[in-house]
Amino acid sequence: MPWPPRIFRRSKDEDELDEELRFDLAEETRLRIERGESPEEAAAGSRRDLGNLTVLREDARRAWGWTSLERLLLDLRYACRTLRHSPTFTAAAVGTLGLGIGICCFLFSWLNGLVLQPLPGARDPRGLWGLQASVSYPEFESYRDETGVTSSMSAFLGPAAFSVGVEPGSEPERIFGHLISPDYFSTVGVEPLLGRFFDAETERPGAEPAVVVSERFWRTRLGADPHAAGRELRINGRPATLLGVAREGFVGVFPINPADIFLPLSADPSIAPELADGFLTDRNRKDLHLVFRLAPGVTEAQAEAALEVLRRRWNDEGGELDPNQNKRARKAALTPAGGIGPWPREFSLGSISFFGLLMALILSFTCANLAGLTLARGAARGREIAIRLSLGAGRWRIVRQLLTESVLLALTGGALGLATAWAMLKLVLRSVGQLGSFPPPLEVTPDWNVALLTFAVAALAGAGFGLTPALAATRTDVASALKKVPGDGLRRKRWYGLRNVFMVYQLTAAMTLVIMMAFLVAGIRSGGDGNPGVDVAGLSVFSLDPARDGLPPDEAAAALAGLPERLRLQEGVEAAALAHPRLFQSFATPDANVTVPVHGTSAAGEPDPAEAPHRVALRAIGPGLFAAMGAPMLRGTEFSERELRSERPSDMATPAILNHTAAEELFGDADPLGKAIRQDERVYEVVGVVQYGAPAVFSEKAAPLMLQPLTMSDLRRTPAMGLTVLVRGRGGILPADLPGRVERIDGRLTVFRATSFADQLAQMTQAVQSTTAIYGSVGLFALILACVGLAGLTAQAALRRRKEIGIRVALGARVSQVMSLVMHEGAAMILAGGVFGALGALAISRFLASINEQYAQVLASGVEPSHLLAGPLALFAVAAAACYLPARRAAQADPLDSLREE
């Protein structure tokens, strides 16, 4: 046996003992012959008096002081051999454990990376708070200076895009960053790795432009230059001094959208276009996220109350306080800011419970399956163990041997699990969007903690499912076990009962999982291919960001506004239009509360309490967009060139286009044209209704969408994602041609993210698809595992009763009668599992809905019930087949064969 490698001393000891014993036997035989015994008698007597060789060898091994490692190696070798001799069992057990542990490890890594992980690079991240709503700069100053509940407060605007050039004349790169208030770094607790951060002098309005960068920017783009502080970078075409480098790991607050460059909010609008048009004094531009620490002794409730008072004052000053607005969404709610993303506590709690429950279900399910497998195997090995006991093996020795086998299985499964988790994470990570040059610092590779946890769970599971059968197996009455056929007798019956309990639990867990996963998959898939109703043939998109190309705001706006018209004049271009990039985000998240004034278009005056608030996604588009996309206007018209060229805010009602869902939600069957819609203090007038929008997740309908015109002020301050331009070509226009075409129109503009609309759609739906794939595979995994377990159990039951079956068949029972005999038990278990599983899924979803509003909404959304039935029906069908096949084999066996067996 080449494995494990023999240890030299051990082999010498063993050889010496053998030689001693040989000598002993020879010597004894010689003496007995001398005493007059016949040679045969002498040899037998000599052998008999020597005693039990197995016990003797074990004793001697103990005397040699075998290290536990050597004993382990011996056990391992034996375990490997036995496992190799039952490949089906081994494959089933390792596969079960591998997938179970893999899925759990994946879920935990995901949860850990997204929710549990604290903000990298920050001091005491648990003490950082933010507000759920974003605020304007004057509001921030008043919160900071007037409440007294915080020990330090800062604010940031971001992610904001910067075009950053490292060397003069080099090609600039789009890097995302934060525009920060004073005390941003000190509030978060970040130290400079190099140089220094902003101070009163560098934050003075009109100061020389200065920036701070992240450690990874410094390392990858500046070659970790130790003298980088004081270097000059080009930011949006303007020179700026590099003040310092932030500590390693820190990439801004909420690093799900990482920031690798930091500029003060006092920076000049020429270098930070977001700040144009007096951002610091405009109370309507609520783009700032707060980050603060509570003053000593101040509770979260006290802070919320104090901030709420101020918030109300600010809202009162700004006009009416709408009592009907969604109070929950409007309250000054503290949100933990020391995590990866701006997750409200409810979200974190919901994620932890959801993932935790899922993991517990899968892990316990896996263990139940393994326990069933091992129990069945233990019963089949009763004879082997009895033989080994009678040959002198100690009980503890056999228990340890069986445990070694289980742990070996568990560890192999654990290793397979890690590989599975890694593969799944790879798959999902590929679909996580990356905004700029740097990926978000998501620690969702299976890190060492997760790996250790996985192995701990695997080893525990191994010990757990190994121990009970091991002890039971060694409690065998040697004599009866040797005489009897495996599976006979009352004792077996009891173990068989325990196996049934495991089986029902497995079917229950499988049913719960299948129902939950079917719900998720059906819900996610209801979005279809994500096409909002666009004719994608010949449609291309690209992004522009003239302000970051170094154009002054007015020139940038003019260049953008004129571009579609000039593109249309080009050969082969059928249509071109502008849109805010948020229109094309994969989920049209509602972000605005709107109401319909009851009294027609009388926009002015107090809001009527009867006005019900609606939540819609508010997006901005340029003229001719829907015509270019091929989405039909159901009523009215699109925005015109006049609105694009106008300024905002105007005192006139803003024109608005609703998509079909919003029109129905807001106005029902009534004609929405000319009607008024109010959002905070702004009033809109509906000018058109468009058929546009992909069905949202967990809904059969498109998300309600309200569109307002892009204006010159929007074009002056392009968003971080740039501005999107759509081009429909008459065949032959490739996305790759677009940069050249734009260059010919205006050499100052840099095109980025040029792609076909179809590709962009595919990219957006990739996240949805991989999520579906993961949940689908969890459900499939549960389904397969439960069925494998059931098939094994039925086969075992048939084996146990094969004598009885043989007699019955011999006496003339029909195949169908025998089969019903065998399937009877399986069917009862499937039914019990189905009912318990449905109840379990119901209970879990109720529980989740009770702690998290989002889940409640998802549950209330009502997925088509026929989608939900598919999962359980599949389970029933496959389980019945898993039960049927072994039963049929048993029933068709020749009765003589089974009766002839001892």
């Binding site: 000891d13 010496e16 003992l17 030689e19 001693e20 014993l21 000598f23 002993d24 020879a26 010597e27 004894e28 010689r30 003496l31 008999r48 008096d49 020597l50 005693g51 039990n52 060789l53 003797l56 004793d59 001697a60 103990r62 005397a63 040699w64 002081g65 009678s390 040959l391």
Partner: protein, 115 residues
């Protein structure tokens, strides 16, 4: 496989006394495992019944503890055998065990036949 009942006039030896008897036997000079067994049996007039096999783990244990040493030598019949020899530490150990044994026997005797 079960062992035949030992004859009623033979005694199973007490746990732990085997080591002592082995050391005692080796006082007369180096001996191989089989010889030690024969010596114990004959010096107890065949009353002490020991399984020959059980000697070997005991010998290996004593060797491990450094109380005996072993060499492979040829017997008178030119066969290779492992000869065990008492070490200095083994002699000390024998003295310790002997005195302990004597105290044990005294104590048991006093209980069984109170003076």
């Amino acid at each position: 496989m079960t062992n035949p009942e030992p004859p009623p006039d033979r005694l199973e030896i007490l746990q732990g006394t085997l080591d002592m008897m082995i050391l005692r036997t080796l006082q007369w000079g180096p001996q191989h495992g089989h010889g030690i067994g024969v010596a114990i049996r004959s010096s107890s007039d065949d009353i002490l019944q020991i399984e020959r096999g059980s000697l070997y783990p005991a010998l290996h244990r004593l060797e491990k503890q450094g109380w005996v040493e072993a060499d492979w030598k040829l017997t008178e019949n030119k066969q290779r055998a492992k000869y065990y020899r008492l070490t200095r530490a083994g002699k000390k150990q024998l003295a310790v065990e002997e005195s302990r044994w004597n105290r044990f026997v005294d104590a048991v005797a006093r209980v069984m036949r109170p003076a």
